[in-house]
Point group: C3
Chain length 266, copies 3
Amino acid sequence: MALITLLSDFGSASGYPAAMKGVILSLCPTAQIVDISHDVERHHIRAGAFLLWMVAPYFPEKTVHCAVVDPGVGTARRPIAIESGGQFLVGPDNGLLIPAAERLGRYSVFHITNEKYFCAPVSRTFHGRDIFAPVAAHIANGLSPRELGPLITDYIKLSLGEGVRRGRVLEGEIAYIDTFGNLITNIPGELLKEIAPGTALVVEVSRKVASARYASTYGEVEQGELIVTVGSHGQLEIATNLGSAAQRLRAHTGETVTITIAPPKK
Amino acid sequence: MALITLLSDFGSASGYPAAMKGVILSLCPTAQIVDISHDVERHHIRAGAFLLWMVAPYFPEKTVHCAVVDPGVGTARRPIAIESGGQFLVGPDNGLLIPAAERLGRYSVFHITNEKYFCAPVSRTFHGRDIFAPVAAHIANGLSPRELGPLITDYIKLSLGEGVRRGRVLEGEIAYIDTFGNLITNIPGELLKEIAPGTALVVEVSRKVASARYASTYGEVEQGELIVTVGSHGQLEIATNLGSAAQRLRAHTGETVTITIAPPKK
Amino acid sequence: MALITLLSDFGSASGYPAAMKGVILSLCPTAQIVDISHDVERHHIRAGAFLLWMVAPYFPEKTVHCAVVDPGVGTARRPIAIESGGQFLVGPDNGLLIPAAERLGRYSVFHITNEKYFCAPVSRTFHGRDIFAPVAAHIANGLSPRELGPLITDYIKLSLGEGVRRGRVLEGEIAYIDTFGNLITNIPGELLKEIAPGTALVVEVSRKVASARYASTYGEVEQGELIVTVGSHGQLEIATNLGSAAQRLRAHTGETVTITIAPPKK
């Protein structure tokens, strides 16, 4: 059973994802198609890269992820296909696919040049429909990425970064803000592992300082209290029980985060 | 053909529903997955329960409904699976599944304790992905809910209530406000059955009183006029032709509704 | 493999599309269902017609498009099914299906009268679930539209219009505004074909006049500059690189657009 995921900033109501699905199902009628999101913040490559990084490991082998957050469509930016850990990724060469590829395993990147697998004529503004969707369908049908074009190593790298800890201070940045206003950081949860639930913390996001508490789940604290927890993705997450941490701290993706563990009381 | 529906308050763009789908399709590659909604008002168990109640009867036998509106995730609240009228429901023990289960037929509730069917390790904040999705996939594959854990009777009950009529006065509450701003009440449509289209009514929602007309469809009245009609779900619905009744009456889910039939003119 | 698309103004989170899917999968368990959009502006038949016109050609033969933007539900407006270019369209007789039908090929329109294919009882307010979804499923199962009712020719016509060029002046209207705020016109792209990228243009939308540049892709101009380009649908599109043209020009669907080619400098 062929499985293809789609991720874009087209808007789920725009009709553009549907056009991609029509192309895919014309070439691979039995494909299962799963939408990861079509509402990535427009042209926000890092936010798209984070989502793909977050969900790709939960998909089975041979899944083809077709991702299009592509401010450079129609310019010289190259289309690429990646094989990693038994899964495939197809999209623009702008870093979008790289964090997921790294997480899935050792990976190979191919520059897609073989126009035989495109929808003709290729428009200048919608490679999602004319290049990425048909290429994803062909891979789902069993085509090896090797057939698409040459192996390259000069693709654009992108790292979501990794927060660090120095003594009582953890530093990183906001990788993603989810629907609930939870601030998902790039600080690995294990850096706080030895801390007991309830430990007092101080959170600083772009010059706003707030008290928080380490919690192992949202329900452990009073309503409205700020907590730091290890999210379902394994990263530290700043949240409030029944409220939006993003609104409360007026926080944005990409901003620096500092979490300080309060010294034990004497 | 295995059929699984998903309902949550995660936001369709959040990536969390996609992670659940990846887990489901890893275990049950041929599953058809249908999204009921991922935009239930956050933590609003009654609104989620209403949607599930509304759509479940339209699905075929053996459908597995996996629903996650779950403010208590990570606390002592239990995961449950229900068998009812040939369909299955999986989700938290907080009342969310009960109105749909009652509507589908006689039902049995099982406390999910058999960790063999979970994704390990189980996170503290995302049981949708780690417990409910894999359990739903196993049921879709043919597993009996009996294998999941003990039958229980002390699950949390939830009733959407049922409006009543006393003479010319009907009383109930707003069960749900749909995308059009239509106010869907918990008053059964048959309580107004003998009324002729065009009959004058008085509607009162949280101290705001307005004139309305009974209509058998939206198109029967002038633009902007307030109507009471029997919605597609069989409940009385307060709507305006081409406009939002919710906005006009500043109404919210859960508020009390009174509908009074005007006495016939002499 | 049966393939059914859905388009509506119900809102993707409303539960109504899910009820339609339940009906479809009860009758045709192997159907692939693709959402084109459920967030068409409420009751905006032309916007729905444009989306369907835009994406239908990308779907394979035998696809059944089930579209419901239906302000006249429950009135005398007829339900229709159309066969065109090997695909099928099902929905209300209000013009919604016609531009797509014309684009797909020569077409025949049938008045759906055979109640055998409806879900009983038919509600007055939700023909999407009770008439259009089951009829679409039956067609996907192989039923000929001829079995549904008589061939008719007095169906309601709708044209998205076609912009024209007189010398240096092109005139048309805004057919659709997409998620990015791009203004998609009904002026065919070929009317500007001989123009060189970078050519200066003057755009007028509902009395607001602005300078623009012809570009073959978004990335060719400075951030914020207004461009006219041939969109992925083949129509002229007014856009800004990284911004919303709709917001900048305060433009709305249906408004008149004039594009004037500046005379070459001497």
